[in-house]
Amino acid sequence: MRTVDFAIGIGGENGQGIASTGDILARIFARRGLNLNAYNAYQSIIRGGHTFLTIRASDGPVRSMGDKIDVLIPLNQDAMDRHLKLLTAGACAIYDTEKVKPGTPAAGVQLCPIPMKELTKGNKLAANTAALGATLQLLGIESEPLEAVVTRQFKKKGESVVAENIAIARAGYDYAANNFKAFPFKVPKPGKGLGVITGNQATAMGGAAAGVKFYAAYPMSPATGVLMWMAQHARQLGIMVRQVEDEIGVMNMIIGAAHTGCRAMCATSGGGFALMSEAIGMAGMIETPIVCVDVQRAGPATGVPTKTEQGDLWQILGAGQGDFPRIIVAPACQIDLFKTIPELFNLCDKYQCPGLVLADLLISEGTSSINPDDLAFNVKIERGELILPNSNGASVKPGSGYNDNAYWRYKNTTSGISPRAVPGVPGHIYTAATDEHDEDGTLISDEFTNPHKRRMMVEKRARKMEAVVHDIAPPKLIGPESAQVTLVGWGSTEGVIREAVEKLAGEEGIVANQLPIKWIVPFHAAEITRILSRSKHVIMVENNYSGQFARYLRSEAGIAAHGHIRKYDGEPFMPHHIVNAVKEQLAGKTQLSVPVHEVLA
């Protein structure tokens, strides 16, 4: 049962401590057992600019940042000017009396000016803490949780800083109690405490659970969080973590490590992925399993480094010259990232091919609450036909280590999968070559370019993919089959589409269902065709300009959507964007809707 659903927006400049203020709030809500989602719209500068963090919390499911702000905390005039006009009756704005002038709010919006200088005794850095105290008071949350989290946050800075911040938080709390009108609801404490996780943390933890022993990266927003988590936990978990000279080196290095038998992984964004392309082909050719995460951001080229997009689909589909098997998956949210990485490693080990993950800034830098019970670290680990020297793999074949020609690394089997020995195993010597090679690894060009062998090896590798589709879950239709409209999305849009579907039913009387698609390659074309051929009206929702997935759906399933909702302004969808677009499309006004992002207008 959903009893509360509220959102707090904190706006200001980079460097004003917005992220840490958001962390404190998120932790307080999660510890109470509330579900939450936090999204930070920020700029690629270290100081200045405009940043707007939205944290939405509820005792019901929270799958997106939602549509409204209940508490606005503008830390500067710019933030007040941009966001006050979006507040509606019942909302409030908490700000520094001296620093920010409010303007005219809509009727029913409560202005909450606080004399920050007085409350913080002149400590400019602590204004956020006072605003936090006031916010909690208005939400009907006791002050103790804030004190606990403030202690956690400032512990490293010493006792006096902790004590000062607790006093300031309390002053903000008391000031609000005496001067402002609290919300009509009190935020409940629904039960078991939850954790807080970003998608990048979830990705890294999924890798650790899968048994990643080698992680390499070149720093690139919005994927750097994975590197930071890995670097921090490397020694504790026994993971070799390297920052490499460029992404070309990253991919080649993880292939080297994977070739010796390690589970090896990297994460980057579209630009870094572009540099990795040729080496991904190498992983396909020498049949070495690796996992690479592309945390998409707005492109092309450097694009908008701190903004989200689903613009890399075709880059990933076509990465590397030539044809070779690859597995591509687009997880929907933070917990899905955690669960998908080990599953993908198992598939890549089994099929000896590269595995590519399409994440994006929205879910990877975005924060979500997480139930600790959902973080199962005892994941299933299956390494396929791997031969390690210490019987840690599937089989051990003895050999003298000298002149043993009985092992063919690229043996042409009926499944296309050839038992994979790694360097160090006696009696299995071979050369893994990026040139086309024979079953024993000999370069085909060494004898003469043999068209029959070339054909056999192309087919051997390709044949592996025939079975993969049976190992992955087909997409499922969510909602009534007889709905008026079916919203199709892929990857990170699953949550916001789900909320739009609920809104359409609850507020507009429109019955919609949704088909979220996660596995891109291989593609469950038959099942998707079966589902969508029964749909009355198919609308494709995606975060890019050209409808990349719509095109893919046409090429793989022969299905052309009736309409499209696309957004390519760098910001994610909000539920009402989709609701309004569906309404206009069902009314026959357009087949292509491009919602405007009002929040940062």
């Binding site: 080698f214 504790q236 070309i248 994977a258 160090g424 990026t434």
Partner: protein, 306 residues
């Protein structure tokens, strides 16, 4: 279409005695007759034999180019990777299984041209790798274009009026770049080359052996005949390989007298692997360790999120 065939059955005979030929691969090199790379291949096989390295514990990693075909001609584990990427792949392999002897081979275009970035960074990391460059100062496999080590003025298919660019000199570059064993050899002096390669393999840290390996087909300037009278062996000249400045001076020497031998060595610096505690937990190579986390490790990670 070929049918699904089985590899030939091998009789469980007594292993043959180990000889230099043990290190020869199944395939005969397809290099041009007279290519300097034959000498390098033979010297490498001799070095491995003399050091008693086990073929299955040796990994030879190459890039792309004539000389990068070398791993296929060896009876050791091999990787024939992408153009310019051998050092990056080899670094990953060495860290994945630090008990392997990892040797990289390639050409001057592969290492100093397209792979230049990895060359610089692998040196400064002092990864325990041996890098043998068959430097013929020309692009052979692409049929004779200018290389990063082609001398100024050289006429090639891509520089018909003579190259106007200054060449890279890998010896001083490696010395200042952080390589801890820097040697040069010449295909015409195979015994000397064997010693240079053995020293490089035994050295703990990044070792470079830059070999003048003449291209008899496309480089008509830097031929055996051109090198022979010019080559002087540092070991016979009283050179002190622990003197960095003299090593750099010797490295720049070019013209009537061109030194080969060990220019520079320092042994007091730890390698990258030495400095990574993850490799020294007593659990052996990363590649062979059990996967997954313990319940305690999982619990600790979850606690961080609360």
């Amino acid at each position: 279409m070929s049918s699904l065939t089985e590899p030939p059955a091998v009789a469980a005979a007594q292993p043959a005695p180990v000889t230099k030929d043990t290190y020869k691969g199944r395939i005969h090199p397809d290099w041009c007759p007279g290519c300097g790379d034959f000498s390098v291949l033979s010297a490498l096989q001799a070095a491995l034999f003399e050091l008693g390295l086990k073929p299955h514990q040796t990994l030879i990693v190459s890039g792309i180019g004539c000389s990068s075909n070398l791993p296929g001609y060896m009876n050791t584990y091999g990787m024939h990777t992408l153009h310019g990427r051998s050092l990056a792949v080899a670094t990953g392999a060495k860290l994945g299984n630090h008990e392997l002897k990892v040797i990289c081979t390639g050409g001057d275009g592969d290492g100093f041209g397209i792979g230049g970035n990895h060359f610089v960074h692998t040196m400064r990391r002092n990864v325990d790798l041996t890098y043998i460059v068959m430097d013929n100062q020309i692009y052979g496999l692409t049929t004779g274009q200018c290389s990063p080590t082609s001398i100024k003025g050289m006429i090639t298919k891509s520089t018909p009026h003579g190259s106007v660019e200054n060449p890279i000199n890998p010896i001083p570059m490696a010395i200042v770049g952080g390589a801890t064993y820097v040697a040069r050899a010449f295909s015409g002096k195979q015994k000397h080359m064997v010693e240079m390669i053995k020293g490089a393999i035994l050295h703990k840290g990044f070792s470079l052996v830059d070999v003048f390996s003449p291209c008899v087909t496309y480089n008509k300037d830097n031929t055996y005949q051109w090198f022979n009278p010019r080559i002087k062996i540092l070991e016979e000249m009283g050179h002190d390989p622990t003197d960095m400045h003299k090593a750099i001076d010797r490295g720049y020497q070019w013209g009537e007298e061109i030194p080969i031998g060990l220019f520079w060595r320092r042994s007091e610096l730890p390698s990258l692997e030495d400095q990574e505690p993850v490799l020294h937990t007593g659990e052996g190579p990363l590649a062979f360790r059990p996967l997954g986390l313990s319940q305690e490790q999982g619990k600790a990670l979850i606690k961080e999120l609360l």
